[in-house]
């Protein structure tokens, strides 16, 4: 009953707090013989690295990942892979005010209610910094997939910021890496920059929707009923800090469709079954169809805003 772990055969346990000595991921079940080194993992951590532009956290640290076990002479051995990232940006700071009051929208209050103790130096375990451990483990997972399913390609990108959605007609995958919002719509990126600058000036923030697509997925992955691919995706996405909604294929909008409109009709293609549309998001009965798997999640606006919000202290006093 590991509450900090995810996955079945390739099982990831993340550990660490935002302001402790280090954080990381223990990967149990990584297949042997996978070529991996720290540089291959660092590639992904560098993409996540804080402080790259004015829209992300201003924390500054290299987030250098070290492989402590499970790899010998550049290959995984089949034993647990320990990935560690040291926290280097732990500026000494006066936490006395934060330590006593609960920040609205943060997990300060629930950790306190549950554990009777909390790490007040930052989000602690509930900090979005935990995703650095996921990125490291994800880098290893990508190396495994590159070996076992070389045609499989996973891409994530932003499709909505606040009220502003991308225009799918302008979708250009090449654009994703070129703007600070990782969005495939160049025009949206320009508009969002202005929009976000305005919000930030007024001490405000806003939410977003991220879409993740996997192409080249073999048909037949996943398992009924509680081990469905979509079940695992929903759990994984919802476990990320600040996520409030998860969708597969047509998602919440599937409720608004009729059966006629929703049906992905099947025909025989050159290499296997083909579908007229992909409302199912590449998954039927929890098992992959061979179409692209398409999933989305909504992130609430960051609760760390400059505009003061009413709250209470540990003593229950209004502040």
């Amino acid at each position: 009953m590991s509450l900090n772990a995810f996955g079945h055969l390739f099982r990831v346990t993340t550990w660490g707090e935002s302001h402790g000595p280090a954080l990381g991921a223990t990967v149990d079940g990584c297949p042997p013989g996978i070529r991996i080194d720290e540089a291959m993992l660092q590639h992904w951590l560098d993409r996540r690295k804080p402080g790259q532009n004015k829209y992300t956290t201003q924390r500054r640290e290299p987030d250098a990942v070290r492989i402590l076990s499970g790899v010998f002479e550049g290959q995984t051995t089949g034993t647990p892979v320990q990935l560690m990232i040291e926290n280097t940006d732990q500026r000494s700071k006066d936490y006395s005010e934060i330590a006593e009051k609960f920040r609205p929208g943060h997990a300060d209050i629930t950790y306190w209610q549950k554990y009777g103790i909390r790490d007040y130096r930052g989000g602690g375990r509930s900090s979005a910094r935990e995703t650095a451990a996921r990125v490291a483990a994800g880098g290893l997972a990508r190396a495994v997939l590159a070996d076992m399913a070389p045609d499989l390609k996973i891409t994530g990108y932003m499709v909505r910021m606040g009220a502003h959605e991308i225009d799918r007609a302008r979708f250009d995958a090449a654009e994703i890496d070129r703007n600070p919002f990782w969005t495939p719509d160049a025009e949206a990126a320009t508009q969002w920059a202005d929009y976000l600058d305005g919000l930030r000036k007024s001490g405000n923030s806003v939410g977003a929707v991220i879409e993740v697509t996997a192409s080249g997925v073999p048909a037949g992955l996943g398992a009924p009923i509680y081990g469905k691919i979509d079940t695992d995706i929903a759990a994984a996405f919802m476990s990320i800090n600040a996520v409030k909604g998860v969708e597969i294929g047509a998602g919440m909008a599937a409720a608004e469709l009729t059966g006629e409109a929703n049906a992905d009709e099947i025909s025989m293609g050159a290499t296997g079954p083909e579908y007229s549309t992909n409302h199912a998001g590449g998954i039927l009965g929890g098992i992959s169809t061979g179409q692209d798997i398409v999933a989305r999640f909504a992130v609430k606006p960051t609760s760390s805003i400059l505009t003061p919000r009413k709250t209470i202290t540990k003593a229950g006093t209004a502040t």
Copy 2:
């Protein structure tokens, strides 16, 4: 790695197919000393029973649940509770046509691709009939909660059918049990009946959104990071047949909010912290706040429609 199980301490494994001899749930970890009998479980199964009105499946069977183990003299003993429901409506029927072709939107094709074998007599394991086993296990879970957290109350109801949402101003909990759609908005129920009659006449179907609320939840339940309450809810909902989206609190719409609007401000109430709003859906950092837990899921329109949709046979021939 039980792919047909759900839950940590109270762990439910469901088993059975739509047209086999029986289906049911094995519950491991039920606390001892809980008063339970078959009638208490039957109450919930009767609410789910097929054939109650023209809007549900026309399958006709009593869905009588039997307790085969784990209960002695009207109390749970702490050992596994086996709940069995016999399938009685297995009309002999000519499956020859169904057996050869894949029904669009159903899991026929993916089960075939994965297992090389499928139960063509109905959905088999992927049939929505699997939820009968959940209802039985859920009845037991409710008995446990009644004992351990008597103030906790869980209510489910329908808030959208196709393009038609309920009007929250007309929300009346007492109405839920009075209409065939389990909706708290009496006027919506009337409108939906007409709408659905029209769809059915044209051989069509439509999706829906269900909301589930838990009130009286103690603060401090759940656990970071992968064992969050919202993670478990997302997984549980997504594992249900035909679900394509899951939301907690503000849900997907959280992406459209600003940080100022989204913040649930905290004040001190008579019995503990109180919140100005509940965008969080009663969960912060994966742990309950003591507010109502509010979650929703979207169900795609049933794929079993009269309007023919293009598909192929097992041999790959168009039909």
Copy 3:
């Protein structure tokens, strides 16, 4: 955290009590396409069936196993297989005396201390009757192995009763099925019959050691460190009612060997590595070597004896 389950990919949860309506096993993870029917499972249950000779429990029932799910047209489908055995020998009986006092050596007292409730009609969940569910699930496991590893052969037999061990020089596998003790030493069987008759006449009982051998096991099964084959065997054996010791290969006697004597020297054979001896019991570092896997367990004498032993009642009174 299923405390009533065993196994990783092929996962067995047993359920049921000695005097409830039924008991059985839920098997999750059985591969699809395995040919199985009730008769194939009944073969093994018939070998275990009570009342076959004077040395076993005198309970009389057919122990007919039913397959309730996961099998269609004589083949497993990949979905959970539910195996049920109804309890038919539940003679109405006066339990008033048993219900109040604890039987020494039985789990009556600890179940009472743990759960505050107990099924006094027999051992309840702690009855050796639970092994009927294992035999049913084991029959299915054997069918899977016959398909996936046709050369693998598992044989169990008795090698010690009380102070009397078999003579390995008289080991004859064909003898195992010919005597009521399932021992490969015909002469030991004759001696044991006399010995046990004497014990039974005086209202006494005695312990035994069972050895289980698997031949034809491919090298490379198992996994370090906590998922070792020997770890799983030790857990599985120790979970059986009344088992107090478990050994692999040389077992406890390995402590008495020197490194020189214990070393299984390696040479190259026609089809792979060969070993001069098998002190390791076919397992090195938790992984199979390709030699026979050899394991043993010791069963304490049954605590149900006619000679009265001192005990107390639920009220704490000596009796």
Copy 4:
């Protein structure tokens, strides 16, 4: 399906190899508010530290344990605790000979057969050095127990070396820490020293039996059937490098007892049930009785001996 993890609520995943940069343990589920620091863990690692006397491995390193997460201001927070021990004794060495041939009795050959790759610099993952991670996690477990069950006391000691068993009449718990064999029998310690010196001079080794006792265990711990305390102990012991047998209470010798002799008779004591003897080893039906829990395991002689044993190379050549 974490194969490198052990435990249910307090779950330990160990990672690391004998010659990699570090090894350690990820502890998920540690209760919050437990006072712990590195010195408290170091106490136990120092007792295990290699090179303390001539009878242990001559590897020399401080085995300094670091707490990387889950502890804040001297208390556990309820989040995962990462314990890391750096490997410092990695002398550069010529492994060319070892790299090509398999050492009899070691897991070299099975890792090679399973993974097609092996860490030839030492035992790698199968090295007994893995137990350092267990000792660190065990130190944390002891701190939890000191808080939750202050009367519970766990003691381990050696009761047999080769053919030489201790004399229980000379059992003196205070003696355990005074001799290099951690044995409670001072006279045995002297005899064993001579015996082992002789064996070592002739390039040989010998096995041993270790007994572990837990006193002050509350009645009612453990769970039927597969989650029995004895099942967990058997699995835990058997997962340790080189263990070939596990016993609870009377152990393998229970097979030689009659039911009369084996029965632990029950009487009512001042604070609860008392037992005339403890053949059960403090466990009935997998649940603790409140008596001392007594368990033993046999370790085979180390396979690293100076006397050459026949083996083969990776190429299959005799050597």
